[in-house]
């Protein structure tokens, strides 16, 4: 069985919409559909990979040979032009001397989805990003509700405390309040 799989570009675009194919000379020869949406004005075609993206980590010679030497490692990349989104990437060498770079938005995904107006169709069907965005919104809404409950309970607790220490008839502090204050004062003197 051959260990080279001939795969149509369209299929690769669907499976990995966030990939770049880089030639042996270090220029982008193809951008997956979602990566293409990250640089809508300048595009990618023919541009040197390392002129579009800065390699933040690991520290390596910014050359094509240097890039190929990092094959398989997790790379931290950042766009040189705004929006200066950070990306994660992994380099996979190709038989033609070039490489395939798979990119991911990592923790910048929420900002990136907003900045680039990404939609559900920009993510591969096996990519759980949309589900994650759903969860972030659902959890934020649930957390907000919980905060509201806490605020109401804490106000009710303060009101109950106030009532417990006040004489209903005179509105003055009662015996319980006096005991608490005396205990507090004797504690302070020690």
């Amino acid at each position: 069985m051959s260990d080279v799989l001939p795969i149509p570009v369209a299929a690769l675009d669907a499976i990995l919409p966030m990939h770049l194919r880089v030639s042996a000379t270090g220029c982008v020869v193809h951008a997956g559909p979602t990566v293409a949406r990250l640089r809508p004005h300048t595009g990618w075609q023919g541009r040197p990979f390392l002129e579009v993206l800065r390699l933040l980590r690991p520290n390596a010679a910014p050359t094509m040979a240097g890039l190929l030497g990092l094959a398989g490692q997790r790379l931290h990349l950042q766009f040189r032009a705004p929006p200066e989104t950070k990306l994660r990437g992994v380099v996979h060498p190709l038989p033609d001397g070039g490489c395939l770079v798979t990119l991911a938005l990592g923790y910048c995904v929420v900002e990136a989805v907003r900045d680039y107006g990404l939609t559900e169709r920009d993510f591969a069907h096996c990519d759980p990003t949309v589900e994650m965005l759903f969860l972030i919104e659902a959890k934020s809404a649930a957390l907000m509700e919980s905060k509201n409950v806490n605020a109401r309970l804490s106000a009710a607790q303060a009101a109950a405390q106030q009532q417990a220490e006040t004489d209903v008839l005179t509105g003055l502090h009662n015996r319980r309040a006096m005991d608490q204050r005396l205990t507090q004062m004797t504690d302070e003197r020690r």
Partner: protein, 204 residues
């Protein structure tokens, strides 16, 4: 029943009929005037008492109240996150209908003790869908009808809904749930402009 569901009914009644009517209903139902907290759970008979009192007070059927509660959930500004969360169902209204069989799991993922109806969707072709709901009480189809009508507006689609005649108790082994059915006909998917939905468009 989860507080979110009880609180939705409370929110709908307060927003539609005013605080005084709500307090009257709450009093009749033996509930405190503040009603429910969204993130707590309540015994099921409190939900029954609330709906019975609301029906008696407003002289409306439970189904019509639940349907309007469903619409309120999607359209009212007090509960804005719901519309967005529903729109995660898919880019088109067809996708949205077909995503309804995930609704139960999606809700549980967000709020683990929230039990929404289990919905089975079958695509009968030609824009016809048959939905079957299973829930711990009756009324899932009424609630869902309100949600679906409002979501159709949101997507700009035109739908015709027809609830199945009556409901039936689930078979033994299904936990005493109630099963109801709803026919959905998507008459026009591009009936109106619809509202925008941006994946990254949540405020804050």
């Amino acid at each position: 029943m989860h507080g979110l569901i009880n609180k939705s009914a409370q929110g709908f009644l307060t927003a539609t009929y005013g605080t005084a009517v709500w307090e009257d209903i709450a009093h009749r139902a033996g509930l405190p005037p503040d009603g429910f907290e969204a993130m707590l759970s309540y015994p099921d008979d409190q939900t029954d008492a609330l709906l019975d009192a609301a029906c008696a007070c407003l002289d409306r059927s439970e189904a019509s109240l639940l349907e309007d509660t469903g619409t309120y959930l999607v359209t009212h500004s007090d509960v804005q996150p719901v519309r967005r969360l529903m729109r995660f169902g898919g880019p088109s209204f067809e996708d949205f209908i077909l995503s309804l069989d995930e609704l139960h799991d999606r809700a549980r993922m967000a709020v683990p003790d929230l039990v929404l109806p289990v919905i089975e969707v079958s695509d009968a072709g030609g824009g016809h869908y048959l939905l079957s709901t299973r829930w711990q009480r009756r009324g899932a189809v009424a609630l869902l009808s309100g949600v679906l009508n409002a979501m159709a507006d949101d997507y700009g689609a035109l739908v015709l809904l027809e609830p199945g005649a009556g409901s039936r108790a689930a078979q033994a082994g299904e936990g005493g749930d109630v099963i109801e059915t709803l026919s959905v006909f998507l008459a026009d998917r591009d009936f109106a402009e619809g509202n925008h939905f941006l994946l990254g468009g949540a405020a804050g």
